[in-house]
Symmetry: C2
């Protein structure tokens, strides 16, 4: 059945269900990053969220929170829990000052889980935390691309997204075009080795982030907070020098090998480019600061707790299988995943990643506040 939602972007959901290859069971790397950002999110809410202003009727004490690109649990539930607790804490603190009417009604939360329509929402719903209802937390799922509007105006007090904005709405056209100087012949990703390729990816990224912020600006109440976590590159580190860049190129090599063996076509392998771009930090900073609807409250590096660890082959294979599942099946069709990730696993064993040799990427934390017009 055709996808009924007119999104501007293509959709590559994380692997659904709760089986061994599912995102649910293979998202601990993302979880570790979120843990390290928890305290920062709490702080941003405590310091910046205006309890009086954003709520049209503050005495109703209802707060609305969205996680954009939630995938399936459990990470998204932790994020929401953290935001809920921060708002409760802020209420408690401001309540003790006296003189306002916040204490009259129990706090209630409307929580929105957003992802593409082909995300596995059935699994998300079946794994919603038990305690939500007892704590006045009411959940919804919102299907659609976050590069377009998803909510009516002034719908949200806090928006959150983590490790999502490197997924472009689509790979730039030129990188798959044999006749373009930006043709990305030798890789399935932006390695940052070819200037024209990098620029094509960067232009798409700039356009997409612009669309994201424009949509969120309408959806957040004045004074509302938009929190963005993600991964970028230090200004002097090309993607191909990071272990993630190395690993992604290995997957690309496996696809080329499979084309040579006739398992897929050379044409398919050559025309495949990931719709993923990790910007340089200065690029990201520039794009964020250009927006006119949000003030940039915090924009800084955070440390990834697993940054210094050497990851096992099994861990890497599972993580990348869960993440790339959708985008690879969409291009190559069903039935290539087992073969591809078997090959990838063998290649990793033959040429182990030298984690110490690789350069580090960078994790960022951004807190934006919707400007009161």
């Amino acid at each position: 059945m055709e996808n009924g939602i007119p999104t501007l972007s293509q959709s590559y959901p994380m692997s659904g269900g709760d089986g061994p290859h599912s995102y649910t069971r293979n998202s601990s790397y993302q979880k570790a990053a979120l843990e390290s950002a928890k305290a920062k999110i709490k702080e941003a809410i405590l310091e910046k969220l205006d309890l009086e202003n954003p709520n049209p009727k503050p005495d109703l004490n209802v707060y609305k929170i969205a996680d954009f690109g939630c995938s399936v649990g459990p990470n998204t539930f932790d994020v929401i829990q953290n935001v809920v607790e921060a708002i409760k804490l802020k209420h408690q603190r401001e309540g003790t000052k006296g003189g306002n009417n916040h204490k009259r009604l129990e706090l209630e939360f409307h929580v929105f889980f957003n992802d593409q329509p082909d995300n596995d929402f059935n699994t998300l719903f079946k794994t919603l935390p038990h305690h939500y209802h007892d704590h006045g937390v009411f959940s919804c799922a919102v299907p659609g691309s976050f590069y377009s509007r998803l909510f009516p105006r002034n719908s949200l007090h806090v928006g959150h997204t983590s490790y999502t904005l490197h997924w472009l709405s689509r790979a730039p056209e030129d990188v798959s075009n044999r006749n373009s100087p930006a043709w990305n012949k030798n890789s399935i990703q932006c390695t940052n080795l070819v200037e024209e390729v990098t620029d094509a990816y960067y232009q798409q990224f700039k356009k997409d982030i612009g669309a994201f912020l424009e949509a969120r600006a309408q959806e957040l109440v004045p004074g509302g907070l938009m929190i963005i976590l993600g991964q970028c590159l230090p200004d002097d580190v090309p993607m191909i020098r990071t272990w993630k860049g190395v690993v992604t190129d290995m997957i690309g090599d496996c696809l080329v090998d499979m084309a040579k063996s006739g398992i897929t076509s050379v044409e398919k392998a050559e025309s495949f480019n990931l719709p993923i771009y990790f910007p340089y930090f200065s690029e990201l900073k520039g794009v964020i600061e250009q927006n006119r609807c949000f003030s940039v409250e915090i924009m800084e590096e955070v440390k990834h707790p697993m940054e210094e660890m050497t990851l096992s082959i099994g861990f890497i294979v599972s993580k990348y299988r869960a993440i790339f599942h959708g985008v690879i099946e969409e291009h190559f069709g069903d039935g290539v995943m087992d073969e591809l990730f078997d090959r990838f696993s063998r290649k990793l064993a033959q040429c182990p990643i030298d984690f110490k040799e690789c350069q580090k990427d960078m994790q960022f934390f951004i807190s934006l506040q919707r400007i009161v017009d």
Copy 2:
């Protein structure tokens, strides 16, 4: 995986997906009923919905609509479309009076599709109408039993539910209890032939409707509308005299036959009772009028357009298979459906329903308005 939502009620979703036995393809009877109520819904909104009062900030022009027990499309999409059009029309009319600020912002709609967490929301999302986004309609799914709270306070302007409230939160315990005077030995439904059985079902119905209205009273804004469509019985017509009662008893007979053949156990067949109750009209009226949060604006009979038709065996089998799928599999386990509905189909061929001989049930339309405290 365990269902994470602590609902008070059991859950028996309509058949999911879009295959030959799906609710999507077997809900035309329900659709016909909705068609006949469309004009009434429009009228209720035009006459009763207060555009100034319910919206905390009317100049935002955002209206929130929920369909409780939406199942999968297409009926729920038609319902929402009808409500959206009615609100637009009302705005247009009131806009022409001048003197208000409704015209400053385009109308936007936040639409909430509610059903049990094991409803097939993935299919719902994939079939959302294309034109929603272009018309300022933003969709969410809300998993959970409508016999408990699903939204924060003051979240909705219009609530709608159709052909849902005969599904009780559970079958009354006594009807499956061999030692109770309300033991429903000879049927899988409330036939209205045994007073104790009828009373046990009625008590559960009263409790459930009470819980439904109490939850909605908190979720609807003051002045908001709750529209309820459904099926009940004229005061002098017991269920067993309607064709639906006859058909349901036939399905029960097939289950008993299957127990005799050893395909299922006698114990299972005897302990099975549908969590369904069609109240007498006077019972329904009494329960609705007892509530203290809503004024009863309209409560009347509507004609079902297919009422006079003789339905084909294929149509009846498909309709009941889609509706009873969840509740029967939950009790009898997987793999009984094909056998059961083959037998049912053969039984219908052997003893055709004499539609003219059967008495008519009754379709009702209720419009309630949330009282302004």
